[in-house]
Amino acid sequence: MKSLTNRKKVVSDKPMTFTEKLYLWAIAKGMMTTFKHMLRKRKTIKYPEEIRVFAPVYRGMHVLKRDEEGRENCTACGLCAVACPAEAITMVANERNKGEEHLYREEKYAETYEINMLRCIFCGLCEEACPKEAVFLTDRIVPTEFERNDFIYGKDKLVEPLDQRIDITKRQHTGKRTKI
């Protein structure tokens, strides 16, 4: 059969000639190969000093967005948890009381909202499922921990702080809708 790459070599077991038995030519060839590698440019990225440029569509740690007035978007509908193929998301819903209108946008909100970062496969189906534009994946990296339980992120880590809003526009065209 014709090879597609033109690199096919037919193996033969004919006895080696005298020059082949000396191995010197083969060794010299091998040494030239390693020498070429020595002069090559390294592709290593030295991490703490140099940070690799992420693709604009990179899917990293999640964020629970607030709207412009600083109210949480999430209504604990549970669609993200249903969409999640890794079963990483759980939540407990609660009803908004009077006087909490500045905290939650609609009358139902998530009392707890947990994502297990060890289960999560960062597929992004939760943000696709979300009808309220509440959960998004960002370009942030989930940091390492020593304990498994520390990877279960609650609302304290997921909801964006009021004073440092998290920019998701790098990979999202949405998240700017004002009215729902």
Binding site: F35, H37, M38, R40, T44
Partner: protein, 343 residues
């Protein structure tokens, strides 16, 4: 006895000791760097700029490790083993002529600790003793892997010493002297032995690889079969001494090859200089040659896979010794012809 001579020799000895240790330490660093480059990696670069302090970190680590002696090991031999390895590796540097004479304080100081008239014999004697360091260490560990490593080391070193000795005899025939300084002087300028004896050099080089237990002849310490070979049971600085001894041996055998085949401290156009300038330049030339040889040692290690033990013995006894013998005989006949013995 002349006090000046005593002082000058002691300074030279201490200096050589420090240089040998320094070069051995930085050979480990350079070896790791070179391995990394050949494998498209970066290598150690965290300790200091470009990882230059890595050998110091490694040495400190060695000292801080627990010094463990196995329960059933022969305690005294276990301690003596690495000592012998290190000692024999260090004492060979005594006969190596590092450069032309230096003139300081009105004294003529030869850059050689002692000019033996049987320098090469001394070298081979010390090389033979160095087997004992490995042998004793492997035996005293009371571990079968160590013993295997030791047996392999001794059989390999003994078989390769023959071919090495015969190729050294060829060089002795060429220069007509056993003294290393005279052998070097005979190769004045660009009159190096390598141009007359390339086959001899090849045999000697392969044997040097085997003598220093470097890849592709590192069977005594192959990691994947023998878990380190003769130093399996060693820890802390005793292990460090073994590893260091290997690198010093590599440095010394590179130096010996530079002397026997690459003209030692001679360099082309050396007649244009004289006095201390010549001395410094000659030392530089010598170290350049030595470092190139060390580089080739390492380059080969990261290129060629390890031999099987029977292949090693085949190469030693069936290939190298006959080649070395024939080469020696041809050289002897040519020299006898030139001297007019057949007239």
């Amino acid at each position: 006895m002349d006090t000046g001579l005593l002082i000058e020799k002691s300074i030279l000895v201490v200096l050589l000791f420090l240089i040998s240790l320094g070069i051995a330490a930085y050979s480990t660093y350079f070896e790791r760097k070179l391995a990394a480059w050949i494998q498209d990696r970066v290598g150690p670069d965290r300790a200091g700029p470009f990882g230059i302090l890595q050998p110091i970190a490694d040495g400190t680590k060695m000292f801080l490790k627990e010094d463990f002696i196995p329960k059933n090991a022969d305690k005294w031999l276990f301690i003596i083993g690495p000592g012998i390895a290190m000692f024999t590796a260090l004492i060979t540097s005594a006969i190596i002529p590092w450069g032309t004479d230096l003139e300081l304080f009105g004294r003529k100081i030869p850059l050689q600790v002692t000019d033996f008239n049987i320098g090469i014999l001394y070298l081979f004697a010390v090389l033979s003793i160095s087997v004992y360091g490995i042998m004793i260490g492997g035996w005293a560990s009371n571990n079968k892997y160590s013993l295997y490593g030791a047996i392999r080391a001794s059989s390999q070193m003994i078989s390769y010493e023959l071919a090495m000795g015969i190729s050294a005899i060829t060089i002795i025939l060429m220069s007509g002297s056993l003294s290393l300084s005279e052998i070097v002087e005979k190769q004045h300028g660009m009159n190096w032995n390598i141009f007359y004896q390339p086959v001899c050099f090849l045999v000697f080089f392969i044997c040097s690889l085997a003598e220093t237990n470097r890849a592709p002849f590192d069977l005594p310490e192959c990691e994947n079969e023998l878990i380190g070979g003769y130093h399996t049971e060693y820890s802390s600085m005793k292990l460090g001494l073994y590893l260091f001894a290997e690198y010093i041996a590599m440095f010394i055998s590179s130096a010996v090859m530079a002397i026997l085949f690459f003209g030692g401290y001679n360099f082309p156009g050396m007649d244009a200089f004289s006095g201390n300038t010549l001395a410094i330049l000659s030392v530089l030339a010598f170290f350049t040659k030595t470092f190139i040889m060390i580089f080739v040692f390492m380059w080969i290690r990261w290129t060629i896979p390890r031999f099987r033990f029977d292949q090693l013995m085949h190469l030693g006894w069936k290939a190298l010794i006959p080649i070395a013998l024939i080469n020696m005989l041809v050289t002897a006949i040519v020299i006898a012809f030139k001297e007019g013995w057949f007239n």
